[in-house]
Amino acid sequence: MNFRRILKTIFQSQLGPIFALAFILMLFAVADQRWSSGNYLSPRNFRVMMNSAALIAVPALGMTMIIIAAGIDLSAGTALTLCGTVLATQFKYAAVASGEPGFVWVALQAVGLTLLTGCLCGLVNGGLISLTKVVPFIVTLGTMTIFLGVGQIISKESTVYADEKNIPGWLSDFCYTGSNSERYLNFGVFPNIPNSVLLTLILAIGVVLLLRYTVFGRNVFAIGSSESTARLCGVNVPFTIIAVYTLAGVFVALGGLMYYANVKNGNPSDGMGKELEIIAAVVLGGGSLSGGRGSILGTLMGALIITAIRSGCAQLSILNTYTHIIIGGIIIVAVIVDQLRHGSPEWFFRLLPAKSTEG
């Protein structure tokens, strides 16, 4: 067989991020066996990793759509904790406790308000970008601090804690990663997978179908690849952009809900920096910041890669500072590799072992 061609095929296939994840998991698993407790690939640690990945992945699904449409959302982090804070305040001031009659309405109202907040955040972003024609980077840089400020007003500049009895059980269990089987939605059949992960998978499938099998999805790609071509083909560009950001806002709100379920409090300033993690997941998964390109599977892998490295470093007792450096380095390497894949510059393939005759 032709070794060089096989390498090239693998290299140029869409499976890059999967290979990267497998490689990283393997690397840490071996290192963990050798120098540490060997718990890296234990079911429990796996659940913890998947849960952390889900926290990044859900808002990253929306971010993928935005990035495919050649946009960016720097406000995703603070919008996410704003949503979490809204949810926390709802439960904090709830008149009825969990389990009492009428609590269903309290919970519904709380979740509804949270989703609405996310929607509004996205609508503001998309509306400003569409109507003012200011570049998304600047618009969302502005709204990033605006959402932080709004969150701080709502939280009265402190962290919002709700009484444990006011939090619905399903929400408490949402990000549960422990060993009590009853707290998982496994229907008695499936292995214990955190509920947050289940939600992520369902949403991801939804977005894949949306992007691939609907007119809206094709329009998103068209706008990202060439906005003027899309316009010329009769695509309603302003509407589509507003819709993309608003939809991404819903994912941010769901991310906020999971964030709250995970830490059980709402702190608006927690969101600072989260947007970069979300964007990194998309970029690691092959999303191009110049638009037109991005994949949901890739984004999921991107989120997993980030958490796999973080968890692995923790297992190996590598200092947090070094973890930051490693993750930063991986992001840059990933993008370089991605560019090579798409440009396939000849010099790179010359480095691969040459074959004797030209086929």
Partner: protein, 494 residues
């Protein structure tokens, strides 16, 4: 004037994966002459230029400048060897001044410092040579006309003391009167014993400026000689590899009743109060100089540009000025800017082809990808697009094939009124004649076509009527038989 050979190229081969772009190409350029490099798109001209400029490296073969072997490793190396390139797309920094642009990449004797004053005489001298003696060296390049910018590129080559200048379709974006200016400068450069290679699709132009020609086809030399010894038919048949009896095939069609009316259409700044009545099955040509408002006219008709006054009426019904509405009323548009606007380059052929009408393949918002693919492939076959697969990215296709995809899109859209802005720009002779035949066939099925072009021979050959624009106004409309090239030009510059 014509002297020693200064650039020699022997047996150059270059392959990109399985595609062999060049298979043993040779060239010889003498000082003080212009060699026209002719060939269809994909014949290997650009690859050869890229090898000469150091952007690509040849797989095998030799090149030499004078007696010295020439193996450029990159643009700066090429420059050092005295070779300059003038590309189709201009390579100037628009925010910088004229002199800063001319001195970009220049290795002066300031020891790393740019001492503008010391270089000033050289800059002024170069500007004078290219006929820009009046231009201030501190003027900002982005504020100059395209033609001036092109002259500046040549001036930059002069400052770099180029012995060989390669022109890649230099006139494709120039208005007619500036083409004459460019040719005057090229003649001046001949006096200075600079050797030049000139690539162009326009045979008339090549005939005017070149001394010798070399024809490439499928990456091989297929003929060369003195320009004056060859007639157009010979060269064209060398290019396409078969006898082209008729460059402008016409399909008989007879215009029917008027049904589209453009009434007093005005935009800012162009067009100005345009009135046209178009009939079914009619090809209406729009001639005029670049900047006369032709593009603005059809963009405004399509709703892409804002109309301040006037209306577009189809079947006695005024159509709202939104692109969506115009598409619904049967309008289709082909942009002159294929790369940025006409096609989404990263998307697949199918996506590009079907983007303007996806409704056929949706049930409650869900796309049937299989049906879409089948329909797209049928169309690709009809317009004969050469591609590996229909889900290939458009950017991988040649210019001519990209244009066919753009045309296929408005066919797919089932447009009845086709607005085409320079549909044959940058495509080879063979594809051009296919496009002309397609236009005729479309008119024969009752479609109405507005055909904007800077290439008069095609307008005169293909259209039923031609309107000439100048300064945003439609100056004169006549049946094609009542026009001559000279008269069109006279109205256009009036």
């Amino acid at each position: 004037m014509r002297g020693q050979s200064i650039l020699e190229v022997h047996e150059i081969c270059k392959a990109f994966g399985p595609t062999k772009a060049l298979r043993g190409v040779g060239l010889k350029v003498r000082s003080g002459e212009v060699l026209a490099l002719i060939g269809e798109n994909g014949a290997g001209k650009s690859t050869l230029l890229k090898i000469l400029s150091g952007a690509h490296r040849a797989d095998s073969g030799q090149m030499s400048i004078g007696d010295r072997p020439f193996r450029p490793s990159g643009p700066s190396d090429t420059r050092q060897s005295g070779v300059a390139m003038i590309y189709q797309e201009l390579n100037l920094a628009p925010e910088l001044s004229v002199e800063d642009n001319l001195l970009l990449g220049y290795r002066g004797n300031g020891g790393g410092l740019l001492i503008r004053k010391r270089q000033r005489p050289q800059v002024l001298e170069a500007l004078k040579t290219v006929g820009l003696g009046d231009l201030s060296p501190t003027a900002i390049v982005g504020e100059q006309s395209i033609a001036t910018q092109q002259m500046l590129e040549i001036a930059r080559a002069l400052i770099a003391e180029a012995r060989i200048i390669l022109f890649d379709e230099p006139t494709s974006s120039l208005p007619q009167k500036d083409v004459a200016r460019l040719f005057a400068i090229i003649n001046e450069l001949k006096e200075r014993e600079i050797g030049m290679v000139y690539i162009s699709h326009f045979l008339e132009e090549v005939r005017e400026v070149a001394d010798r020609y070399a024809v490439l086809r499928d990456g091989e030399n297929v003929g060369e000689g003195e320009m004056e010894d060859a007639d157009d038919d010979t060269i064209v048949s060398l290019m396409v590899g078969r006898d082209v009896k008729n460059l402008f095939p016409t399909v008989p069609h007879s215009p029917g009743e008027p049904w589209v009316k453009v009434q007093g259409l005005t935009g800012l700044p162009y067009p100005k109060k345009i009135n046209i009545e178009l009939r079914r099955g009619e090809i209406f040509g729009v001639a005029g100089l670049v900047g006369a408002g032709r593009t603005e006219l059809i963009r405004t008709v399509f709703g892409l540009d804002h109309a301040s006054e006037g209306s577009v009426v189809v079947n006695e019904k005024p159509i709202a000025p939104a692109i969506g509405e115009r598409i619904k009323a049967g309008f289709g548009f082909i942009s002159e800017d294929r790369k940025n606007e006409g096609l989404a380059q990263d998307l697949s052929i199918i996506d590009n082809l079907t983007l303007s009408r996806l409704t056929d393949y949706t049930t409650i918002g869900v796309l049937n990808l299989k049906r879409r693919k089948q329909a797209a492939e049928k169309l690709l076959e009809r317009v004969q697009v050469k591609c590996k697969a229909s889900d290939q990215a458009v950017s991988e296709l040649s210019g001519g094939n990209q244009q066919k995809v753009a045309i296929a899109r408005i066919l797919h859209q089932q447009a009845d009124i086709l607005l085409m802005d320079e549909p044959t720009k940058g495509i080879d002779v063979g594809t051009k004649s296919e496009v002309y035949r397609m236009l005729g066939e479309l008119a024969a099925t009752g479609k109405t076509i507005i055909f904007v072009s800077s290439y008069l021979p095609e307008l005169l050959a293909v259209c039923d009527r031609i309107g000439v624009m100048a300064r945003g106004e439609l100056r004169d409309v006549r049946n094609t038989s009542d026009w001559t090239e000279e008269e069109v030009m006279r109205v256009a510059i009036g």
